[in-house]
């Protein structure tokens, strides 16, 4: 969050409509500025129902490492957003990961999912090679929706993560929460495109 001091702009504006009985005070005019960004979804290792949680604008309080093997997928899901749509968006996935075999690759997919856990793909990212094998390292992936995203009130967003090799012995770890080891939290930052 950035705080900006507003600049001074003086001006006089006319009130176009004064409804019956509502009379404006005489006063001076000032302006302020603020930066508004898209939401951030934080990966949370806790499970609600079937999937892990994806918290909206909130860093999970607990550090949890999530791991899986190739052939498996991990899914993190938000609560229902109660929205009827979302703008055409870029989903920037920043995550802290390691693997048991340097060079194993991770890929992610953004979906919308309803209360019945029915998923519909929004976009897929490219794959990313994970080189860290001992300490978590920072990586990024992204994908973009093709158009506006139409939602039902019971739908939320989800991220599906998997390894790309077919070798079930390949193992991956992602840290979630405000990890003191990584000094950051795995998250998806949304921006408009």
């Amino acid at each position: 969050m950035k705080t900006k001091i507003a600049t001074l702009i003086a001006g006089i504006l006319l009130i176009g409509m004064v409804t019956a009985g509502l009379v404006p005070y005489l006063s001076n005019s000032v302006t302020g500025s603020v930066e508004v960004e898209g939401p951030v979804f934080y990966l949370d290792g806790h499970i609600s129902g079937v999937y892990h949680n994806l918290l909206i604008n909130e860093i999970p309080g607990e550090e949890l490492d999530i791991n899986w093997n190739d052939g498996q997928r991990v899914v993190f899901k938000t609560e229902a957003l109660n929205l009827d749509g979302f703008y055409k968006a870029k989903f920037n996935f920043t995550f802290y990961a390691k693997t048991n075999q340097s060079g194993n690759e991770i890929q992610m997919r953004i979906t919308k999912v309803d209360d019945s856990n029915h998923q519909e793909t929004i976009c897929d990212s490219d794959s990313k090679a994970i080189t860290a094998t001992i300490n978590f390292a920072n990586y990024e992936l992204y994908c973009e929706s093709n158009s506006e995203i139409f939602l039902n009130n019971d739908e939320g967003f989800a991220i599906e993560i998997w390894g790309t090799s077919a070798n079930e012995t390949d193992e991956y770890w992602i840290s979630t929460g405000d990890d003191s080891r990584t000094h950051g939290a795995s998250r998806i930052e949304v921006s408009a495109i």
Binding site: A6, G32, V36, L81, E189
Partner: protein, 407 residues
């Protein structure tokens, strides 16, 4: 991987001196800051915007002045960056709330904390603000909020206010620059007091004259305060007469006057009330003045008719306005001798004559508006022959107006 960050400008503009067509703004908000501070925020989160102002004890301002804050949120400079058909602010994009920290401004300077009130912000359309000064209905377009406290609405003189507006958006708010405008309004009482004279029926059925007292009773409904004292007034063709305020008791206003000399007729009589905003209301009734006495028709005795022993007295007395005072209907017989009517004393120099004095009658039929009054007068002691006498009848109405019949 590039991270695209959109710099969003959210502005707050506080307006000067708005003069809408036909409406003059005469109350002044003072000492708004040159800059305001607003925290950046992420869509789905809450941010705060702060400003302060003073409401000073200056001639333009009035105490107990309502405060309504209009917030206008709109997009700014999205231009080609908007990838959806409509990036304008719609209802539901934001939720707003607020709080005001109030301070007294003492004469020696500084601020003394008073209290904190919460503001509710509404974007419903249409919105009805139920203020004690009267309800105000507002058409609220998208992006507009009206913030106020339903219980506390008013600024006091020499008050310092620190306003915080909390803004929360939904997660899908399009990232970008948003402009926030805040305008401060007060509500002007435009409703007239409702005056209702409660004893109209009394005045519509009653006559009065000089020296009689009248009392008007009325109710006065007013959203704010009735200014000074209400008053009554009688309107005649030559001059008007006040009916002063007497007292107020249990919601009834009383106006009292002993009537001066007013010519006979019917006149408008009104009660006026004015509130502190200068709105005036009134109600009207009628004041009826009656100065005419009853009409008397002598039915008996009949002229040139012979009577033995008893002289019948029968009068038709009418007063269609105030009504006849039944006890006042009287007759008198005075003998005419030597061409002279017997004087009041009943006699003259060296002679005696008959003067009955005023004698009562009795109403036998009718009512006070028109009735028959009878009695008989014993004439058995009269000498046989032709007697001339002066017959008089008189009556008064309830107000004391006298009518008479003489022959």
């Amino acid at each position: 991987m590039k991270q695209k960050t959109l710099i969003i400008l959210l502005g707050m503009i506080f307006l000067i001196g708005i003069m809408s067509a036909g409406v003059g703004a005469d109350r002044i908000i003072s000492n708004l800051p040159n800059e305001i501070t607003i925290n950046d925020f992420i869509a789905g989160d809450t941010t705060t915007a702060n400003f302060s102002f003073d409401y000073l004890n200056i001639p333009e301002n009035q105490g107990d002045s309502p405060l309504i804050i209009k917030i206008n949120l709109s997009t700014l400079d999205f231009g080609e960056n908007c990838s959806i058909p409509d990036c304008s602010v719609l209802k539901g994009d934001f939720e707003l709330a607020g709080a005001i920290k109030r301070y007294w401004i003492p004469f020696f300077g500084g601020f003394i904390y008073r209290d904190t009130i919460l503001l509710n912000c509404y974007e419903d359309s249409s919105l009805i603000i139920n203020h004690p000064y009267g309800p105000t209905t507002l058409d609220v377009p998208d992006g507009i909020f009206y913030c106020y406290n339903p219980q506390y609405n008013n600024l006091d003189l020499d008050e310092h206010d620190e306003v915080t507006i909390y803004l929360k958006s939904h997660q899908a708010l399009y990232p970008g620059n948003y402009l926030m405008t805040a305008e401060l309004f007060y509500i002007n009482d435009t409703e007239s007091p409702i005056v209702n004279i409660t004893n109209k029926n009394y005045f519509e059925t009653t006559y009065f004259k000089q020296g009689k007292d009248i009392e008007i009773t009325a109710t006065i409904e007013e959203n704010a305060k009735v200014k000074d004292f209400p008053f009554g007034r009688i309107f005649t063709t030559s001059e008007n007469f006040n009916v002063p305020y007497s007292k107020e008791s249990e919601g009834i206003y009383y106006f009292f006057r002993i009537l001066p000399n007013i010519p006979e007729g019917e006149y408008e009589m009104k009660v006026f009330a004015e509130d502190e905003s200068g709105n005036k209301g009134n109600d009207m009734t009628i004041l009826k003045i009656d100065l005419t006495g009853p009409e008397i028709i002598v039915l008996k005795p009949e002229q040139n008719k012979s009577y033995n022993n008893a002289l019948p007295i029968e009068l038709n007395v009418s007063d269609w306005k105030s009504g006849v005072d039944n006890s006042s209907v009287k007759f008198r017989i005075r003998e005419i001798t030597n061409g002279s009517i017997c004087p009041e004393s009943g006699g003259g120099f060296n002679y005696e004559c008959l003067n009955t004095g005023w004698l009562n009658t009795t109403m036998t039929s009718g009512n006070s508006s028109s009735g028959i009054y009878k009695t008989t007068f014993n004439i058995t002691n009269w000498e046989e022959g032709v007697h001339q006498f002066w017959f008089e009848a008189k009556a008064k109405d309830i107000l004391g107006n006298e009518g008479e019949w003489v022959k």
